[in-house]
Symmetry: C2
Subunit: 242 residues, 2 copies
Amino acid sequence: MTFVFNEREKCGSCPIRHRAICARCDEDELTLLEGMKSYQTFEAGQPIIWRGDDLTHFASLVSGIASLSRTLEDGRTQMVGLLLPSDFIGRPGRETVDFDVTAVTEVTLCRFQRRPFEDLVERVPHISQRMMEMALDELTAAREWMVLLGRKTAREKIATFLEMIVRRETVPTQSIQEYQLPLTREEIANFLGLTLETISRQLTSLKKDGVVEFIDRRHFRIKDLNALHLASGDDADGGVIV
Amino acid sequence: MTFVFNEREKCGSCPIRHRAICARCDEDELTLLEGMKSYQTFEAGQPIIWRGDDLTHFASLVSGIASLSRTLEDGRTQMVGLLLPSDFIGRPGRETVDFDVTAVTEVTLCRFQRRPFEDLVERVPHISQRMMEMALDELTAAREWMVLLGRKTAREKIATFLEMIVRRETVPTQSIQEYQLPLTREEIANFLGLTLETISRQLTSLKKDGVVEFIDRRHFRIKDLNALHLASGDDADGGVIV
DNA sequence: GAGCCGACTTGATCCAGATCAAAGTTCCCT
DNA sequence: AGGGAACTTTGATCTGGATCAAGTCGGCTC
């Protein structure tokens, strides 16, 4: 019952079938995509594409996590997106890539050659409609992140980050309330616009305050969801009095 | 020869005809939009829509400048976008708005009622294709801004901001190299994730260093474009040795 | 043209988070 | 089982930008 990443595998049972750019496609359209796709796997840590590289393929991320980031000449790095399964890589109409894409864990991509795919986008409205939806969702997420980067304190940043993981219900490993940090302290720092030392200190502080609890470096439990939410700074909306 | 913002005016001669969501539309599709549109004008400073408000209309910004922002409960405000002519307001598929939209100057919108417009997006691929392009462009811009907010120094932020104005060739008022600041110091601060005092100090500093020159508070000239570019921090790419 | 208000500048001080510097930990790898 | 290397924590100190606090400038009203 597992899906094997092989070109002859049918798209119908693909794990991201209903969330990726093909989500709105019907069977016929899916067949077109099936004829074009190829899979590629990257080990954790490997670069997938570098800023400025020629974009030979578009791709959907099928499994794993990748990061989208930009590094200034002096080494300062800012992550601008976390790519999760079903997220799309590439910009129809552009020849090159604007940001560095790096595999955070082992990553598998479902790829399409640039020209044929661009033609398909013109011909199959279900694809551009879905890509518009996805781009608009990401735009909203990027803007929320801008608020975080521009105006939140270190503690609020980390609390927001943990809350995001919890909300996405990332890998409830064993018991329902055990979550995994998908990134190292340094990667979290690059995501939040902080230094790794500050990440470490703030995590310790949240632990001291009884908000979270660490099983090991990468696994945590929430001891006080309400306190976490309060610490995130973006109250106002879902006060969620459970 | 001026375009009057009147519902009976033809879209064909609209100032944003070739850049807005209708850019790819042919004459017939344009006629559909013509039948649906209505214009609305807001004075400078007026709120256009507030976060959480019901989205009754989608709109294209036809003239003027608007801001997209979020304010935390304690008053900290972060601007997350500047809307210029041809930019779109609203998210098909969503009932409410995620950010506050405010008129910075006098603003005129070309509006479409939500339901009929959503139906049109489903039926006219040229619209979703164009909206996808526009959303992806904005996404790239938002991500570049994330790098600025997360990793740049105050000086780099302002230099980047001025460079952006210069690059867009905003209102070369009289002589070719005179530019206008579209925002107050406080608005710039909210855009860059700084305080208005820091904006003021950094502008003074760039002036002292002979990079820019002020005609008055809102108008400036670039005295050393190369120095401005160097100060922006994102070299690497277009070193543009003119 | 006096008086006022909003936008801006400048100065003094403070502090959150950066930076510099050691120690721990954990997990490979041989 | 031992020796690193990578990751993480913790401590001491520094600093860029925030905050607090006067002023200044320019346009507008009466």
